[in-house]
């Protein structure tokens, strides 16, 4: 198997640089977008005076139970219609 692994040194170097730049750019870009989102959220709250209400996991037992009942019902329908992971609705866009 080791004999099949044969990368020209120059190509390996170029590929290494490509990998580093690509992954670094992708991560860096998404970190930057994360910061932008946090800044925009702060700015919208500040200038529109909107109080952010973070939904709590345990806030409203009644509403949560209704939501849970809805999820269980949907899951049951999906389970009876065939694959656990596939529904016709999965036939989406390209």
């Amino acid at each position: 198997m080791a004999e099949g692994i044969n990368i020209n040194a120059d190509i390996a170097q170029e590929a290494g640089i490509l990998t580093g730049i690509s992954m670094g750019t992708a991560f860096g870009m998404l970190v930057l977008l994360m910061l932008i989102i946090l800044m925009v959220a702060w700015a919208v709250r500040r200038f529109q005076g909107i109080e952010e209400q973070e939904p709590s996991l345990h806030q409203d037992p009644g509403a949560r139970d209704k939501a849970l009942a809805g999820v269980i019902a949907v899951t049951a329908v999906l389970a009876t219609s065939g694959s656990a992971y596939y529904t016709d609705a999965d036939a989406g866009h390209p």
């Binding site: 099949g4 692994i5 044969n6 990368i7 190509i11 390996a12 170029e14 590929a15 640089i17 490509l18 990998t19 730049i21 690509s22 992954m23 750019t25 992708a26 991560f27 870009m29 998404l30 970190v31 930057l32 977008l33 994360m34 932008i36 989102i37 946090l38 925009v40 959220a41 919208v44 529109q48 909107i50 952010e52 209400q53 973070e54 939904p55 709590s56 996991l57 939501a67 849970l68 999820v71 269980i72 899951t75 999906l78 694959s83 656990a84 992971y85 596939y86 016709d88 999965d90 036939a91 989406g92 866009h93 390209p94």
Partner: protein
């Protein structure tokens, strides 16, 4: 009599060989999978029909005669391939316009740290990239076109392949869409192998409401900043964000509807059939195709693993834990990967509702793979 013999020699029956016949069966198999099994029908049905057309001899459908050649010598799919893909590369950006008009950035904005999971899942691209180079059968351009399969994004795969390795376009696109169709079989075993039941049972807080202003500002800023940093990603990112801003503005419903319906559907028809026509017997019956098939599977597996493990890594420092299953949704097969995260979570704990949370990394993966494609185009 000689005219009759000439006529017989000019029929497809006289010019078909066993490899064409096998490809006809492959095309019919795609059609069957799409219609009877409902596997990615919007992709596999037109691709399967394209495969059938490409392997019927002497049709001229995929010929292209450029320059001063007579126009009637070019076939419809040769023209669409040339102008839609290899020469102008128009069709993938048009698809992204439609996708942007259908995308909701709300889950990403409500939980921005999930963006990082979209980046981690792009590791699959580099697994296939390095794997292709290690076989010593592919150039750097071809390895990049093979690697982008790991982004699990059809239009991005087609866009990059058309640019860097048009001869591999049909193979890389079909393999990408085939594995996207099979993602329900690829991901769950890995998800269960790499996470404990306790981890899969982690409940996540419902997401906050995200207003229209936030979504609009995010789309505009993201477009400007991404394109300033990676200008070559502009054809995909710009159209994606423009489509999204049409949607979120709420003031151009006709444009939003046209982008996400008529335009997207027309582009899909021509793009997918044309991609299928690239799978001629001459191209498929090569060892390289089997190698790319294996590399594609490795790409999806490593991408899934990367997303899952990065989510677990994040949980080491986060006070409010995330369910690591959403990490696998960074493999941006939208929305299937998000749905799979949700279903696997439900199996562990029926109270877990991951779909909105998984859409964050799912959409982030689209951005991540487009950024990587832009870097590849810039540097190769």
């Amino acid at each position: 009599m000689s005219e009759f013999q000439e006529f017989l020699r000019a029929t497809g029956f006289s010019n078909i060989d066993w490899r064409n016949a096998v490809m006809l069966v492959v095309g019919l198999a795609f059609v069957y999978a799409a219609i009877s099994r409902g596997l990615e029908p919007y992709e596999l049905l037109p691709i399967g029909l394209g495969v059938i057309l490409a392997n019927l001899p002497l049709t001229g459908l995929i010929d292209f005669v450029g320059g001063s050649g007579a126009p009637q010598e070019s076939g419809i799919f040769g023209i669409v391939f040339h102008y839609g893909l290899s020469f102008w590369n128009l069709l993938p950006p048009i698809i992204f316009l439609g996708l942007g008009a259908m995308t909701d950035f709300g889950p990403v904005i409500a939980n921005p740290k999930t963006l990082l999971l979209g980046a981690a899942a792009q590791l699959g691209i580099f697994a296939a990239f390095w794997g292709a180079l290690a076989t010593d059968r592919f150039s750097l351009s071809e390895a990049a076109a093979i690697g982008i399969i790991g982004g699990a994004d059809g239009p991005t795969t087609i866009f990059l392949s058309a640019r860097l390795a048009p001869e591999l376009l049909g193979i890389t696109a079909v393999i990408a869409y085939s594995y996207m169709a099979a993602i329900a079989f690829i991901q769950p075993p890995l998800m269960k192998l790499l996470t404990t039941k306790n981890e899969r049972s982690i409940e996540m807080r419902p997401l906050r409401e995200v207003g229209r202003n936030e979504k609009l500002i995010f789309a505009a800023l993201a477009m400007i900043i991404i394109i300033l940093i990676v200008p070559r990603s502009a054809p995909l990112i710009a159209l994606f964000m423009i489509g999204n801003m049409f949607r979120e503005s709420g003031v151009v419903p006709r444009l939003t509807n046209a982008a996400s319906n008529e335009l997207l559907n027309i582009a899909t028809i021509f793009l997918m059939i044309t991609v299928g026509t690239q799978l001629t017997a001459e191209r498929v019956f090569m060892v390289d195709t089997i190698v790319i098939l294996g590399l594609g599977l490795a790409a999806f597996s490593v991408g899934t693993t990367g997303g899952l493990l990065f989510a677990k890594l994040m949980n080491l420092v986060l006070k409010e834990k995330i369910n690591p299953l959403i990490g696998s949704a960074g493999v941006s097969a939208v929305p299937m990967a998000a749905r799979i995260s949700h279903h696997v979570g439900q199996e562990a704990n029926p109270r877990v509702f991951l779909l909105p949370h998984a859409m964050g990394p799912n959409v982030a993966g689209v951005i991540g793979s487009a950024v990587v494609a832009g870097v590849f185009i810039s540097l190769i």
